[in-house]
């Protein structure tokens, strides 16, 4: 593959990432508060997506496939620092550009919603993210590997929690 670099596969991969990069950002932002950690997580997600890209099955929507891998990487607490450093040498630091966020850029509501998501447990966070993306219960269940009824119950509780949290804070 490397003799004909970049390979056709890599070109397709880059195109896919370009079209769906928002998924990676949302997952990274939900699972890491620190900007450096977010940058590392984005790199790790790109790497794991690349490793799986060759075997990507068209039975899944690209967005579903990307969500599954991105969430799995984020939930798994990705790699130990030393391992991460080892292969990040291969990635250029400029691969992911981060800018310090100006608080004024976010509305109070959005800021609260983001904070709420970041404060949830790892699995709850995944359920919430997928729900906010408009995924159906059955799809969330398949992505995570739990039953649809479990997703429904859990989501019901999370919805109540999020509503109460936002209403109370915005009073």
């Amino acid at each position: 593959m490397s003799s004909n670099f970049p390979s056709e596969l890599q070109k397709q991969f880059v195109k896919t990432i370009d079209q769906h990069q928002g998924i990676i950002y949302k997952v990274a932002n939900a699972y890491c508060k620190d900007l450096d950690d977010q940058q590392d997580l984005v790199q790790e997600i790109i790497f794991q997506l690349w490793r799986s890209f060759e075997n990507y099955s068209k039975e899944f929507k690209v967005s579903t496939w990307m969500y599954r891998i991105s969430l799995n990487v984020a939930i798994s607490n990705f790699r130990k620092n030393q391992v991460r450093k080892k292969y990040h040498e291969g990635f250029d630091d400029d691969l992911v550009n981060m800018s310090e966020e100006v608080n004024g850029d976010l509305s109070e509501e959005l800021s609260l919603l983001r904070q709420f998501i970041q404060d949830q447990k790892k699995l709850d966070k995944a359920i919430l993210l997928l729900y906010l993306e408009g995924k159906k219960h059955a799809e969330i269940a398949e992505l995570l590997g739990v039953s649809t009824s479990n997703v429904g119950t859990k989501l019901g509780r999370l919805k109540d929690k999020i509503k109460n949290h936002l209403i109370e804070k915005l009073k």
């Binding site: 599954r68 607490n77 080892k86 992911v96 992505l143 590997g145 859990k154 999020i162």
Partner: protein, 221 residues
């Protein structure tokens, strides 16, 4: 904030904000040799395979030692005990490689997390095997004297010292090994002493343990 639809709409607006905050350099991603980076990462499994090769060589040498030393029972029993111990390390190492190869980020989250937990807890399995060095210490002494000085220490050594060592192994080291073996379990990862023993691996194991509890929580919802 009135209803959940509004929250979903609010979330959609988040996309634009995030893309202002972070962006992947697509041109650079085209230029990076991703295959090369992948090969570099795969070398981690290769390192584990090399370690397994080393354990296998040691085990084969120990088994050969047992065959060569037959019928000297003192040396054969010592050699057999250490060979069995080395074989247990080989099996754990094979399991570790199999588990590493079975980790797929395309699996459903819960399946992946269970695989990861098993993989990360390999360190505990190594420690559990390691504790058996304690009661086996006399076998190591016997092997050492034979290999370096050509002496069968059981036959030529001070019998009082040998009996005291044997009793020490049987009455102190064996119960200690059994106790440690029982204590070195995943459920104890959150204990301070265990965390210290595991060094850098403790936090990842603890994380996995907490996540498995979360999974149970969702499954029981």
């Amino acid at each position: 904030m009135k209803d959940l639809n509004e929250i979903q709409q609010l979330w959609s607006a988040h996309d634009q904000k995030l893309q202002q905050q972070m962006s992947i350099n697509i041109d650079l991603l085209r230029k990076i040799n991703l295959d090369k980076i992948e090969r570099k990462m795969n070398s981690l499994v290769l390192i584990k395979a090399v370690a397994l090769g080393f354990y296998l060589i040691v085990t084969i040498l120990l088994v050969s030692y047992v065959v060569i030393k037959w019928p000297n029972l003192n040396l054969v029993i010592s050699g057999t005990l250490i060979s069995t111990w080395a074989l247990a390390i080989c099996f754990t190492s094979i399991q570790e490689i199999r588990m590493a190869l079975s980790i797929r980020f395309t699996d459903p989250t819960i399946i992946l997390q269970r695989h990861l937990m098993k993989y990360r807890s390999t360190i505990i399995r190594y420690l559990r095997i390691g504790v058996w060095v304690l009661p086996l210490h006399l076998a190591f002494v016997v092997l050492f004297f034979d290999l370096y000085f050509g002496i069968d220490i059981i036959q030529t050594g001070n019998q009082t010292w040998l009996i005291s060592q044997f009793l020490f192994s049987l009455l102190v080291m064996t119960p200690l090994a059994v106790w440690l073996y029982r204590k070195l379990i995943v459920a104890n990862v959150d204990k301070k002493w265990m965390y210290r023993i595991l060094k850098g691996n403790g936090s990842q194991l603890l994380d996995s343990l907490q996540l498995l509890n979360e999974i149970k929580d969702v499954e029981n919802a």
